[in-house]
């Protein structure tokens, strides 16, 4: 079954596969849940697979993939009878540019990793409960021994700190 073996040489997916995490994050930012982000990221990668992107710079490839992902996201909403406003898409784009000015997702995540150490232990725990353990606000509140509103405030302040810290580090 030699025909079933993948060739050892580089394939078109080599150019796009590294962008999967960035694409996933972008889709989550647009509002996809995790599964939807999985699906649409995969759809976008498959859509791009047929194109020869070998000569493209990484940022251009990601930009191309993002445009595919955005269109697929809009299609998904339309299939569900929902729309996203142009203003929201503009705001999303602005957020992406603000946090990822040069599409350097790795740098952003690396910065985030360091910035997380600057949080207070309680804020760090709140972040971990919500983004690692998928805890709801109520669950996190119970775990931290504070009210749900306090958790929301804690998370908001933590994200603001992280956002500022990340921006500073990647500037």
């Amino acid at each position: 079954m030699a025909a079933l073996m993948m060739p050892p040489t580089a394939t078109p997916s080599d150019a796009i596969e590294p962008h999967r995490p960035a694409l996933w994050g972008y889709l989550r930012m647009l509002g996809c849940d995790r599964v939807e982000a999985d699906d649409l990221a995969q759809e976008a990668l498959l859509a791009a697979l047929g194109r020869d992107l070998g000569d493209w710079e990484a940022a251009r490839v990601l930009g191309y993939l993002r445009s595919i992902a955005r269109n697929k996201f809009i299609d998904m909403l339309r299939r569900r009878g929902r729309e996203i406003s142009v203003e929201s898409l503009d705001a999303a784009e602005a957020a992406w540019q603000a946090l990822t000015p040069d599409e350097a997702v790795d740098a952003r995540q690396e910065a985030l990793r360091h910035c997380l150490d600057q949080l207070t232990p309680r804020a760090r725990n709140a972040i971990e409960l919500v983004y690692h353990h998928d805890s709801s606000g109520e669950q996190a509140a119970r775990a931290l021994g504070i009210s749900t509103d306090a958790v929301k405030g804690l998370l908001k302040r933590a994200r603001a700190l992280l956002r500022e810290c990340v921006s500073r580090r990647i500037a």
Partner: protein, 522 residues
């Protein structure tokens, strides 16, 4: 996505959250706290008061439930042995032995035959919710859903390591094979032959016992095991099928079933009902986590993966695996008929083998095939596999209604987005497949219908592969020309010969190139 306007700050928060999720998932952020199930201690007085209050409430609730239950159910119900995995039945039928299954006689002549049956009704007719779900999946109207049950019949594959998969629906749900005898009788008969456990019409193999670590013996040939199947539709579990010349080890814990296949050839099929997330450890060891089914699979050295249906997250998960090149294999959705092709592809046939296999199929009788086979002619997507068409679909046994359902299913499947997947499949055997298809198309009416459908699918694949307007035109022309099978066949024969003459394998690009037409061509 909420409908209310989103601010840049909202999106930034989401993006930060997504980054955090990915960092945690990748292990880049070490966990510092226990999962929420073990929360940090609240103030002692409040915690104790809370706990006592909860305990009191729970005690009251339990007492109420117990009293009510006693009143309504004086005797405790019998606990089902293994709810989500009542099947499969799987046993090797030694050469020279045979088994009667209702109207059918299954014989292992000159070669061993592995018989597999899952153990639960696939589509209980008395479950409206399930039927509605199924109808939505298959694109059928509610009136047609009872027909779906008839689409699950038994099928055979692999001539040398002949395997016959029996559906639990067939055994237990009043389908034709089981009609001749009471389900329990049939179960007992099978159990006696295969030395399996049987009770209340259910057959099961220790393989799926949650408390054991079962192991299939090395049969010295391809082995197919199927979990789930129809039960997965109901339970949300996963149907899994492993094909390996080696052994399969499975362990089912409270929440997961871990299967490891050490064979070089492993075929895994995940049901559409599976909810799968992913993922991987490396090209030689891929891990698939199926969320709803709580199923973990570890593959080693798998070289084929098939997905039973194209919807469901399992498919997407496998697509992701494929895109990640973690599985050095082609991928196809679709069900048993495709598995048949895959199994055949694993063991290319000689002419003698093909004839024996055809004879076996003939022995099995016309009723042995599913109408859905006609709808599953997507093997063109496996264009790099060594495909042989050995399917014999006899439409004569179908009712008009079944034929209509079959046609609708076929139409649905042909509209599937398989071209996306096909694009990443090596097409080196494309011309050879066409030859085989044409050869089969010349045989008899039933095979010709199958071959024509496959040719059409193949051309659809080619269209996606080459993006050639010429191919698109050809498909359109053929639609118009195919007023009859004979006319369509003549058309295909002529045009495919022309078409393949224009293809040249481009080793550098790993695909076919369509040569430009010359002046003489025009």
């Amino acid at each position: 996505m909420t409908d209310r306007p989103q601010t840049q700050a909202d999106f930034e928060a989401r993006l930060l959250g997504a980054d955090l999720e990915q960092l945690f998932a990748a292990g880049a952020l070490p966990s510092r706290i226990d999962p929420p199930s073990a929360p940090s201690a609240p103030p002692p007085a409040r915690a104790w008061a809370s706990r006592l209050s909860l305990l009191a409430m729970a005690a009251c609730l339990l007492a109420s439930v117990w009293i009510g239950w006693r009143a309504l159910r004086p005797a405790p119900p019998e606990v089902a042995p293994i709810s989500a995995a009542a099947g499969p039945l799987a046993r090797l039928l030694e050469p020279g032995h045979s088994v009667r299954l209702g109207d059918h006689h299954l014989a292992a002549e000159g070669r061993a035959l592995l018989v597999v049956a899952d153990g639960e009704p696939t589509f209980p007719p008395d479950d409206p919710a399930l039927l509605a779900r199924l109808a939505a999946t298959e694109g059928l109207t509610p009136e047609e859903t009872p027909m779906i049950r008839d689409l699950t019949r038994w099928w055979a594959l692999s001539p040398t390591a002949a395997v016959c998969i029996l559906s639990g629906a067939m055994l237990l749900n009043g389908l034709p094979v089981a009609e001749a005898q009471a389900p329990d009788q049939l179960a007992q008969e099978l159990a006696a032959i295969y030395k399996l456990e049987a009770s209340e019409g259910r057959l099961r193999l220790a393989l799926v016992d949650p408390n054991k670590r079962p192991q299939l013996p090395n049969l010295g040939m391809a082995t197919i095991v199927k979990w789930g199947g129809g039960s997965s539709v109901r339970s949300g579990g996963a149907g899994t099928l492993l094909l390996t010349p080696s052994s399969i080890h499975c362990q089912r814990g409270e929440e997961q079933l871990v299967c490891t296949s050490t064979g070089k050839r492993t075929l895994i099929v995940i049901d559409a009902g599976s909810e799968a997330a992913i993922y991987r450890q490396g090209p030689e060891s891929c891990q698939l986590t199926i969320v709803a089914g709580k199923l973990d699979i570890t593959l080693r050295g798998a070289d084929l993966v098939a997905i039973e249906k194209q919807d469901g997250k399992a498919v997407r998960a496998f697509r992701a695996l494929l895109a990640k090149r973690l599985l050095p294999i082609p991928l196809t959705p679709f069900s048993e008929p495709v598995l048949r092709q895959l199994a055949l592809a694993l063991r290319p046939l000689s002419q003698a083998q093909r004839e024996r296999f055809d004879a076996l199929l003939a022995d099995l009788g016309d009723k042995a095939y599913k109408t859905r086979q006609a709808a599953s002619n997507q093997l063109a997507q496996l264009a790099n596999a060594d495909i042989r068409i050995l399917t014999r679909v006899t439409q004569a046994t179908l009712t008009a209604k079944e034929a209509e359902v079959s046609a609708r299913l076929r139409a649905i499947h042909e509209q599937s987005p398989l071209a996306k997947i096909a694009k990443i499949i090596d097409a080196r055997n494309l011309d050879r497949d066409l030859d085989v298809l044409l050869e089969v198309a010349r045989r008899d009416a039933a095979d010709r219908a199958v071959a024509l459908a496959r040719i059409k699918a193949l051309l659809g694949y080619a269209k996606g592969q080459f993006m050639s307007p010429w191919t698109s035109d050809m498909i359109k022309d053929t639609e118009a020309a195919a007023g009859s099978d004979q006319a369509a066949l003549a058309f295909w024969t002529k045009h495919i010969a022309e078409w393949t003459s224009q293809l040249r394998w481009n080793a550098d690009k790993g695909r076919y190139d369509v040569l430009p037409k010359t002046d003489s061509d025009r």
